[in-house]
Amino acid sequence: MDSAAAIEFHRVSYHPQGEAILHDLSLAIERGETLVLLGRSGSGKTTTLKLINRLLTPTSGEIRVAGRALPEWDVIRLRRMIGYVIQEVGLFPHFTIEKNIGLVPKIENWSRERIRQRVEELLHLVGLDPQLATRYPRELSGGQRQRVGVARALAADPPILLMDEPFGALDPLTRAQLQREFLDLEARLGKTVVFVTHDLNEALLVGTRIALLEAGRLVTLNTREEFLRCREPLVIAYRNAFSPDFNGERGRV
């Protein structure tokens, strides 16, 4: 079955041990878009992300990636075509930066020369000095580490990128810089991105569409512009929390 959507959720629920983490979620993520999953802690946004690369398995419902239902995928193949970036980065501390970025290509049996070239290209792409290739993660700053995290996720050129609060642990200046660089990168690479954040400013900056989750349910799914005009109470509350200006005069508290 061929489908236009890169990722589809059809009535997906996730209830481990009867606890309703995610309830009856349906949405389609288009190719090349950046869909932001916005919500507070415990709203189910990270769960939604992990359901896509099968770190978690839904209790009911169906998820399709590139038109194929998840159980039909070989889980290892699936994960290798989905880049995964997490807040804690999770670099392998015993590997150099080069080995960290080149691990999946190495497992995929790329030649040594091709891996070396790819690592250099990626370091350049994420704005890092290629000389860092021989360093260890502990020798890098937080911002540099997250850049490596992004480079590692992009190593085998996956069409889909999952990002779980990738810039959440960084200081505001570094975060703003990485957000801008991410926008550049995304404009150039055109990946399908699912981006988890609790920060409305970040959501409005990076997202083509914003899915607002609350207590395991999808509240609204809007484009950026629609989101700013939306009268849904929770959306208004969000705008108020971040900046009353988002709501114009009438929405002001």
Binding site: G90, P93, R152
Partner: protein
């Protein structure tokens, strides 16, 4: 006759008993590594096995060593030769630190590192051999260190069942009420233990993964 003279006069026997001692400890520790590490890994995959396996290893540790040698004596193939018996007993004692440290070492790997590895499509085997075991190695070596030092001490008891080793002198000296002979067994055994402790301590430091080398928490799981 002082100790130094005794050792010089009997240097062939001292050397032979020391080599026997090293052999008993070496073989039993190798076997314990070969069995304990896979068991430790197994525990990280099937948590339900934790209680029975760690429990059994714990119980073995509580059996007095002389009694354990006695228990094993009637065992068919094992009881036929004293060195087999000693090696099996020493191996059983060494299991606990190995199982526990392998398990603890893997459990102590940063969960975000494991999650990143899984998320990028490493197979379970790749995750184990490329990420978890290398990162747990310092803690596992700490377990081998504890097991070896423990075994060097325990192996002196093996002489009671005729397995040889430096315990020969200790038992002979006890029977003769001769402290020099006791010391001729006890001192080389103590030296061996110190040597093993220092050697493995050095290895442990060397093999600790890059980022933890400075923090020094890797040996926290040793007993």
């Amino acid at each position: 006759m002082n100790l130094w003279q005794f050792i010089l006069q009997n240097h062939t026997e001292v050397t032979q008993l020391t080599l026997e001692h090293i052999w008993l400890v070496g073989i039993s520790t190798l076997l314990a590594v070969a069995i304990g590490m896979p068991l430790g890994i197994l525990l990280t995959r099937w948590p339900a096995l934790r209680r029975p396996i760690l429990g059994s290893a714990n119980i073995i540790q509580t059996i007095p060593s002389l009694a354990l040698f006695g228990f094993l004596l009637p065992a068919p193939w094992i009881g036929a030769r004293a060195d087999r018996l000693a090696i099996l007993a020493l191996m059983l004692y060494a299991l606990l630190p190995l199982i526990r440290n392998t398990y603890a070492g893997i459990q102590s790997v940063d969960p975000s590192v494991v999650e990143a590895g899984r998320g990028m499509g490493l197979t379970d085997r790749q995750l184990l051999f490329q990420v978890e075991l290398p990162l747990a190695l310092g803690v596992i070596i700490a377990g081998i260190r504890v097991a070896t030092v423990l075994s060097i001490g325990l192996a002196t008891i093996a002489a009671a069942v005729g397995a040889g080793g430096l315990g020969e002198y200790i038992f002979r000296g006890l029977a003769m009420v001769n402290n020099t002979v006791i010391l001729a067994g006890a001192l080389p055994a103590a030296a061996l233990a110190l040597l093993a402790d220092t050697g493995f301590g050095w290895l442990e430091k060397r093999l600790r993964p890059q980022d933890t080398r400075r923090d020094g928490y890797a040996s926290a799981a040793s007993s």
